[in-house]
């Protein structure tokens, strides 16, 4: 499948469809307890198309190995937005792999891990010629995430992340089967939130250890190859060094999208396999699959399970929900204590079981677990008790849905 000349007309058509869709939802969704959820679902789906648009439009005729063909990323729409210094896509805090999104946006976790490895100081094909060092690129990633998080916080998790959409779909499937969701105890939920930082620390340390041969001149983990454990993609190819990606549950879904629209031949996934069973695979490993299955089961039972332990969500929260960034965060969930009756609906409907919205006495109730999905705003039956504010301006607020509107 080859499109040498991407059809840029798709972009304005896409924008028009999104605007018309938002207006239609705004106009015709009568149920006040579902209007924000409907809007959010539409924006989530639109975001998936936006993130993977580069892939839909790009040319895919540059195989790495002639018999296989992989998804080359050059010349894709929106590709190489920041030139040779930062050609792998703009870092946005959403789980969207580098491969399928065609250099439009890229998962910052992948970038940070990859840029630790000195390989990324070099050009490495596909028309990419880096002119910046790995450390400089890590600084750019953190800067871009900081800007995104200060402006929108975990709005990215609630409204834009493709894996968030996947979990929301699971929740809708569960609801359709009339099964009730499970909840963690407050203690467990807090422990899960804290585990995010441990996950970040582990994958950063592993990244350095995997890259140790190139950084320090010798392997810190005996028996490993320069890229990582023998048998893994990193260990075999050597220059791929992303420990978190080896376990990321989103990666198989990205591959699925890539294969589904024909930009990657399934043979690349099925033929390039190596390693023992526990980590067998190439582009995706058996660990990826096992973790995706486990997370799917858990997210089916517990709403937005992954978001409670997501290291990317933690990074975003780090720049929006903790001092000093919390004080200047632009997007906030606010509560008017005078209008709150402590009915507890907000606490019950929160998909990540965030508690500040219920427990805090008014003002900014955004916390690191809050994904700004505004489900609490939608469900709250008291006029203006809860509101989602951007730069001090209310963009969504709770409405009295207990009383029917007079025509």
């Amino acid at each position: 499948m080859t499109w040498q000349n991407p059809s840029y007309i798709v972009l304005p058509i896409y924008v028009a469809i999104v605007i018309i869709g938002i207006l239609l939802i705004y106009k015709f969704t009568k149920d006040k307890t579902k209007n924000i959820s409907s809007l959010r679902l539409f924006i989530q789906v639109a975001a998936v198309f936006a993130f993977f648009m580069g892939l839909i439009l790009g040319p895919f005729d540059v195989p790495l190995y002639a018999p296989l063909g992989i998804s080359p990323r050059s010349l894709l729409l929106g590709g190489n937005l920041l030139g040779n210094q930062f050609p792998d896509g703009i870092s946005l805090p959403v789980l969207a792999c580098y491969y399928p999104n065609g250099r439009t946006v890229t998962c910052p976790i992948w970038q940070i891990q990859a840029y630790i490895f000195p390989f990324w100081n070099y050009a490495r094909g596909y028309d990419v010629v880096y002119s910046t060092s790995g450390l400089e690129k890590i600084g750019i990633v953190i800067g871009l995430v900081a800007v995104a998080a200060i402006i929108a916080g975990r709005f990215f998790c609630g409204w834009l992340c493709p894996f968030g959409l996947y979990q929301d779909v699971l929740t809708r499937v569960r609801k359709a089967t009339r099964l009730k969701h499970l909840t963690f105890s407050e203690k467990t939920n807090k422990a899960l939130a804290q585990s995010r930082w441990i996950i970040i620390a582990v994958f950063l340390i592993l990244s350095v250890m995997f890259a140790s041969y190139e950084i320090f001149g010798h392997q810190l983990i005996p028996g490993t190859t320069p890229g990582g454990p023998e048998g893994t993609e990193a260990g075999n190819v050597g220059f791929l060094n992303e420990p978190f990606c080896l376990v990321c549950p989103m990666r198989p879904l990205c591959v699925l999208i890539e294969c589904a629209i024909g930009s990657m031949k399934y043979s690349y996934v099925s033929q390039i396999v190596y390693g023992p069973f526990w980590i067998r695979g190439g582009y995706i490993s058996s660990i990826n699959i096992i973790i995706l299955i486990a997370v799917t089961a858990l997210a089916f039972a517990y709403r937005r399970f992954w978001c409670r332990i997501c290291p990317l969500g933690a990074m975003t929260a780090g720049f929006s929900s903790y001092t000093p960034f919390k004080q200047i965060a632009v997007t906030k969930l606010e509560k008017d204590e005078k209008k709150c009756t402590k009915c507890g609906i907000c606490k019950r409907v929160c998909p990540t079981q965030a508690t500040d919205v219920y427990e805090k006495k008014g003002g900014d109730v955004t916390e690191s677990r809050c994904i700004l999905c505004a489900r609490c705003v939608e469900a709250c039956p008291y006029e203006d008790a809860l509101s989602l504010k951007v730069a001090g301006q209310t963009v969504m607020h709770s409405r009295n849905w207990l009383e029917k509107e007079t025509p």
Partner: protein
């Protein structure tokens, strides 16, 4: 006329010295001490083929349908090796790839005259058909690849990353413009967020005062 000939011979001293020998799939190059035979899968030609220290050294080797290879040294042991092709990729991952077929579990020592140790081991890959291999091969610092116990169709690939160093000689602000722009963006975002925070607080304060009044 004599001057022209003189100038041509000065400019192209090696042309007259270059002769090529044609070979075909039936041509065999044996290594008697190691009980091995080298052959080619297709027709081709080379400038010289010398046998030294149980190693065949081909210069200016050109197989039909392949790119020319300036120098190829190959020494098989207890195995027969058929050289299928030599390809260079200039797009995608720029690489050099020698494709061979090996019969018999022996050892093959191959040097393509490229890839002397560059400080990056990851430049080299050996693949069986399309699967990267963990074991059964190693590469020395002079770019000599030793295959041990491997059979079937093998690809020896050199990615040559280090020749593609991306460092440019641009002025500092051009070479690092993205980092500078992101730094400015972070500072501007923080600055704007602080201004918004102050403005909102002032407005909220005024609102509270007017309510109290």
């Amino acid at each position: 006329m004599a001057i022209v000939i003189l100038m041509l011979s000065w400019a192209c001293p090696s042309i007259s010295a270059q002769t090529s020998t044609v070979f075909g799939p039936a041509t065999k190059f044996s290594v008697p001490a190691y009980n091995s035979v080298i052959s080619f899968a297709v027709n081709g030609n080379y400038s010289t083929a010398t046998f030294d220290d149980d190693t065949w050294i081909f210069t200016n080797l050109l197989l039909n349908g392949s790119q020319p290879l300036e120098n190829l040294e190959i020494s098989p042991k207890d195995s027969n090796v058929t050289i299928n092709s030599y390809q260079t990729e200039t797009f995608g991952f720029p690489s050099d790839r020698l494709s061979i077929s090996v019969q018999g579990k022996g050892q093959q020592v191959i040097n393509m005259g490229i890839g002397a140790y560059s400080g990056i081991d990851v430049d080299w890959v050996v693949a069986s058909n399309v699967t990267f291999l963990n074991n059964g091969w190693n590469v020395s610092h002079n770019g000599t690849v030793t295959l041990t116990g491997l059979t079937g169709n093998l690809n020896i690939i050199y990615f040559n990353f280090t020749s593609q160093l991306g460092a440019t000689k641009l002025p500092f602000y051009e070479a690092h413009s993205v980092a500078i722009a992101v730094t400015v963006a972070v500072a501007a975002t923080i600055g704007a967020a602080v201004v918004v925070k102050v403005a909102v607080r002032r407005r909220t304060g005024e609102g509270e005062l007017s309510k109290n009044a």
